[in-house]
Amino acid sequence: MTTATFDAIARRSLAFEARAEFLRMLRSPSFVLPTLLFPPMFYLLFGVIMNIGRGSFQAPHYLMATYCVFGVISPGLFGFGVTVAMEREQGLLMLKRALPMPSHNYLAAKLAMALVFAATIVTTLAVLGYFAGGVRLEAGQWIQLALVAILGVAPFCALGLLVGTLTSGQGSTAVANLIYLPMALLSGLWLPLFLLPKVIQAIAPVWPAWHLGQLALAAIGQPSAGSALGHVAYLAAFTAVVFAIASRRLARG
């Protein structure tokens, strides 16, 4: 409803908006603890301590990539879903719309927050993979993995935004978890898909997390299915469609 303005004030304000968004999430234990601790914990458990690898399957490598993807979903899905649902319900969004907040900054600040958390998660897993899992990669592979995982936050920001416009503040965490945990399992992010039933392997290409997982595996030279171009196209289309629906719902209030 507000006209798009991105002048010097709006650009400077975006830095404040992003900083405020990051700080408030960083100070929310219910967000920050599961987001930053679960991926490294699961990785250490399944990838390093239990080391389920056998034959040519390198568990520390494979699972480092898939837990990066598992990790970056959370700041998108919860960082958008829960905050947008709360702010709609509790009137903060309305106040910011009445105040002269430049309208694009609302979502841009949340995206910046999600990217910072995603980068933190990827760095943590890379350090654990190198020192605890003995993972050795070319410099280019590390960079590719980081790019895939960090940029891969976008489709889950869109999905989180949709959850935020559909649920109440109270219900949003539950709904986000109901999407997050089953999708991670069904996409082969917790355990490699070949350990799961055939039917789960067959439907995996439905989930955006599976496509991002395959890109992450391909980035570090692990066996993966499908073509990189196909995965990118799926994720781009998913992001565009979900974001279009969600932002229309958000604008209608």
Binding site: M1, R12, S13, A15, F16, A20, R24, A98
Partner: protein, 296 residues
């Protein structure tokens, strides 16, 4: 539109579901005045303010802020807003919230000035969630002042404030108005409207049914109130001609009438021991009740 008008609704109608929330409302806020928008719950106050702020698009008519569309960021950079319902993030400090809202404006007030005006100077490092209800209201007021607004929207600003905070708040609003800031105020506390407002608009069922200074609003009601201590019962007094309503508050009896003289004669004749007798014109509360009852 006159250049003295800072905000305006012109023939604004808005339907929300089955309810006609606003029905052809015309009102203008002039530079430097305090305009109190009053009326019972559901009368359309919130919708009127939301329309002026560009949060709600009118079905018919026009909303203007400084002569521009309220959705226009340039127009909204000249206002400050305090909404009744907004809950701010608990985990940010007052200082961080001020820094964020200051960044929305071209020439914001300094943090120190805002904090002093709102009475928050010793709370800047405190997290919003750790503030008392009254302190949170003061923090919300502080956010409304960040941009040196020429027009301030205050929606039920003193709900949850103690008496001392409220006095401080009124003084701060008077200071701002003395420096040329206009205010649109909604409140359930009529003493607040009486203390601050230059003009009052009364909404009932989506229509602006009365508008003017406080004395003019009171004078619209011919009703007088007789107040006394008497042994007569309410039912007995209610039966007299010209008595519109009777209320008992402890030992006091309140009699509402358009013709006080015959009622007084009756009263003095019926109870020769009547004490503390007082006759006055209706207060703002009674005037509003009467005006909105007529409109229903």
């Amino acid at each position: 539109m006159s250049t003295d008008t800072v905000a305006q609704l012109a023939g604004v109608s808005k339907r929300l579901g089955a309810v006609q929330a606003l029905d052809g409302v015309d009102l203008s806020i002039r530079r430097g005045e305090v305009y109190a928008l009053l009326g019972p719950n559901g009368a359309g106050k919130t919708t009127a303010i939301s329309t002026m702020l560009g949060l709600v698009a009118p079905d018919a008519g026009l909303a203007r802020l400084f002569g521009a569309d309220p959705a226009d960021l340039a127009a909204r950079r000249r206002i400050g807003v305090m909404l009744q319902t907004a809950k701010l993030p608990d985990t940010l400090t007052v200082g961080e919230l001020l820094a964020l809202v200051r960044s929305y404006y071209p020439e914001p007030r300094s943090v120190a000035d805002v904090a002093a005006l709102a009475g928050l100077s010793d709370l800047l490092d405190r997290r919003y969630g750790k503030l008392s209800g009254g302190q949170q209201r003061r923090a919300q007021f502080a956010l409304a002042l960040c941009g040196r607004p020429e027009l301030l929207f205050l929606d039920e600003p003193t709900v949850g404030m103690d008496t001392q905070s409220r006095e401080h708040f009124w003084k701060a609003v008077r200071d701002l108005v003395a420096h040329g800031c206009a205010v649109v105020l909604t409140t359930h506390y009529l003493e607040e409207a009486e203390a601050l407002a230059d003009r009052i608009g009364v909404l009932a069922r989506g229509r602006l049914v009365a508008e003017g200074g406080i004395e003019a609003i009171r004078a619209r009601v011919g009703q007088r109130q007789i107040r006394c201590i008497t042994r007569l019962t309410e039912a007995c007094v209610q039966a007299w001609p010209d008595v519109r309503a009777v209320e008992r508050q402890g030992e006091w009896l309140h009699i509402f009438t358009a013709k006080p003289e015959p009622v007084l004669r009756e009263l003095l004749w019926a109870d020769t021991d009547v004490r503390e007798l007082e006759v006055r014109r209706a207060g703002l509360a009674e005037a509003l009740n009467e005006i909105t009852r007529e409109a229903a």
